[in-house]
């Protein structure tokens, strides 16, 4: 062999040896998590994607913590809180908490973060998560007050969810842009490297405060890689290049159950699905103005079978448009529309549509479910045509009043309170296509009263009215499938947030 070819061969072998994965898996006590969406900015106020929420929860802390198992609120950066009046929440803060850069956590961090994100100049992306805050005030180094614009009882839930606290000096200096490049939080993991659009690498925070309701992390390193193609993600799992993926389609998940090195876990999510109907005067489908037609649609679709056959394990049939564990979500007093195609046909005939009618059905995800619905609707004479598009385009059609029937889904931003779901679609907002003032008033009451019993009753009435007047057909909750290394111990929570700090290897 010539010297040249020996040299080439050596170079090739050396290079191949160098191609070790960036992170080891179980042996290195690391998790390589692959996700399809890219996060534009890891600062939780500056992105509105699910992966942003996932990263945010690992790297930052919130004032209050909601235990995902018991739904009980616990103190995280705050130790105690109480409503002083309808609009003012007073919080005692925890002492001895340090940010990843060593800065001590105090009231200044809370006051600066909240006042910054509510200011219009901050240009926060998730405005709806902080729009309820008027301002924050420092009482002393470890006591703050948060003043709401209106009475806002769901504040606790928001403070336990998307509203994280930044270190004030650092955030004031670098802003959201710098926070994205070199993120600093106080959470169980700290980001060591963020290659925008490519990966986020995190390391266990060894100084994570011991009293946190989030347990001390056991996994040493976490790498979140952005892989847009689902097939590629599956290939990575099978080739051992990733340890966990989520949102795997039912058929793929079923196939991957056969792979001995992997486990497939399914879990219900907070995302609810409903068939949204435009019953307003100006609707493009005047048939929907008739209550009987809407009721016929309710009876036409076999939700039980859809859940069993195409939605997947863990999903449940809904009777009202909210996620059952959410505060205020109830189906008490709401009518049950059983699957009854004969009754659906009869109702249509009574409404004067004996021969059915044509209608466009707008959809943007889970196309197979839309197609199943189209099948059911056609069986009773409603000839639905699929209009499948991107979410933004569908919402545009909805808001412009062009879409009369929509296969909608809503994830409530993982907020466990009805104020984050039902009012979005029935309180005269841009997505409300039924515009019932009675429903609106009940929702408004539920959103703004502080007494939990009053809130529950108001929401119950609103939800029952929506169901009774058949403004939408509540379908079911969605499930998500996780595929992971078979030795990884984890729980699939409905809020779709993998908690790396709880995970470990067997």
């Amino acid at each position: 062999m010539s010297r040249f070819s020996t040299g080439v061969l050596t170079a090739v072998v050396a290079a191949m040896m160098a191609v070790a994965p960036a992170l080891a898996d179980k042996k290195g006590n690391a998790i390589r998590f692959a996700y399809d969406q890219v996060v534009e900015n890891v600062d939780p106020f500056m992105n509105n994607v699910r992966i942003g929420v996932i990263i945010g929860q690992q790297v930052w802390d919130t004032l209050i913590y909601r235990d995902p198992k018991t739904a009980e609120y616990k103190g995280q950066l705050a130790t105690a809180w109480k409503w002083i009046d309808d609009k003012t929440l007073e919080l005692d803060l925890r002492k001895g908490v340090k940010f990843h850069n060593g800065a001590e956590f105090t009231a200044d961090d809370v006051v600066y973060t909240l006042n910054f994100v509510v200011s219009p100049e901050s240009k926060v992306v998730t405005r709806q998560n902080v729009a309820w805050i008027d301002r924050a005030e420092k009482i002393d180094a470890y006591k703050v007050r948060i003043i709401c614009k209106e009475p806002f009882p769901a504040a606790i839930e928001y403070l336990a969810g998307p509203v994280v606290i930044h270190p004030h000096e650092y955030y004031a200096k670098v802003g959201p842009h710098g926070m994205n490049e070199k993120p600093v939080g106080s959470g169980p993991y700290r980001i060591t490297e963020h290659s925008v659009g490519k990966y986020v690498r995190m390391e266990r925070n060894p100084d994570y405060f011991k009293d946190s309701p989030k347990p001390q992390p056991k996994i040493e390193k976490v790498e979140i890689r952005f892989i847009p193609d689902r097939q590629t993600q599956v290939a990575e799992m099978m080739a051992g290049g990733a340890d966990m993926i989520m949102n795997v389609a039912l058929d793929q998940a079923t196939q991957m159950k056969a792979v001995p090195t992997l486990q497939v876990v399914s879990g219900e999510t907070m995302r609810i699905v409903f068939l949204h109907l435009d019953s307003r005067e100006a609707t493009t489908a005047p048939q929907l103005r008739d209550l009987k037609v809407r009721q016929a649609i309710m009876h036409a679709i076999d939700r039980e079978s859809m859940v069993k056959q195409i939605v997947g394990q863990g999903a449940r049939v809904l009777h009202t448009v909210c996620f059952p564990p959410q505060f205020g979500c109830s189906d008490e007093g709401a009518p049950r529309y059983a699957y009854d195609p004969a009754k659906a046909k009869q109702l249509l005939a009574e409404a004067g549509f004996k021969d059915g009618f044509d209608i466009d059905l707008y959809a943007y995800r889970e196309r197979n479910q839309t197609e199943a619905m189209i099948g059911y609707l056609r069986a009773v004479g409603i000839r639905a045509n699929l209009r499948f598009m991107q979410y933004a385009a569908m919402r545009e059609a909805n808001r412009a009043g062009k879409a009369a029937m929509l296969h909608q889904t809503w994830g409530s931003f993982s907020v466990n309170d009805v104020s984050a779901s039902t009012p979005v679609y029935y309180k005269f907002g841009p997505d409300d296509i039924s515009r019932d003032p009675e429903v609106r008033d009940f929702l408004q009451r539920g959103d703004s009263q502080v007494d939990p019993a009053v809130r529950k009753e108001a929401y119950r009435k609103a939800l029952a009215l929506i169901a009774e007047r058949a403004y939408s057909l509540p379908l079911y909750s969605l499930t998500t499938y996780y595929v992971a290394n078979k030795d990884l111990v984890f729980i699939a929570y409905p809020d779709e947030i993998p908690r790396f700090w709880e995970m470990s290897y067997k």
Partner: protein
Amino acid sequence: MLIYALKRLGLAVLVAVVVSALAFLLLRASGDVAIALAGEGARSEDIENIRRIYGLDRPLVVQYLDWAAKMARGDFGTSLFFKTDVHALVLDKLPTTALLALFSLIFALAVSLPLGILAALYPNSWIDRLCLALAVIGQALPSFFFALILMIVFAVMLRWLPVSGSDSWAHFVLPTVVLGYYIAPAIMRLVRAGMIEVLASDYVRTARAKGLSSSSVVLKHALRNALVPVVALAAVQLGFLLGGSVVIETVFALDGLGYLAYQSITHKDLPVTQAIVTLLSLIYVGLTLAADLANAWLDPRIRVGSGT
């Protein structure tokens, strides 16, 4: 030659301007950017706000002229999604894509030149048929499907190569093969046709009569002439490879311009999409111009013909 060059240059500039205007209009016609940017659950006032902040409420012509003027000064604007400078973002990803395109071209040439020559030397033989079969498959097989097959075989089953990513040279092997295989057939067919024509020409017959070795005749005398159109085609194909990498980079999660294009399209990040489309079309126009000029320089008939 100078007049010809100026004419081609003028035409190239015109094409570039038209392409940029078309891209601008089509991207804007694809839906309301403000709504897309605002995300799930945004209120109407948030959307109005975004429209105002990004100047999306101005007439289209004004938006285009403003953008074109800035672009001409090298100011590509700020990414609506990543909130960073588009110029830096694009420059950061360009090397990966350029490398992939170059590797793919080299791979395509390495495959298509020998096969094209063999097919020409033995026309209608089994080698020729095999080359034809390869060419047909290469042009018929969707690249993402071919990519998945290679992934399953070499990454999942054999575990010789990584599935996705762009950290080392090994990550480039599969994408290079997929992308290169896509353009190889065109080059192969051109080499074959060119070689058959040249091999039948008088000077090759003379060379053979002089007693030159077969390899010397084929490689030194015939190939050089047969390669002239191939060089032009290869230059154009390089532009095609740069654009074609959108699918391949997305499938292999290669962190290049194509992947960035995919991300910016999904997030309606107009400034980035616009910058990439414009940059790629400029490169394409530039390469076509270079090919035209090279051809004209090599073959006087072209420049003379164009003058009439």
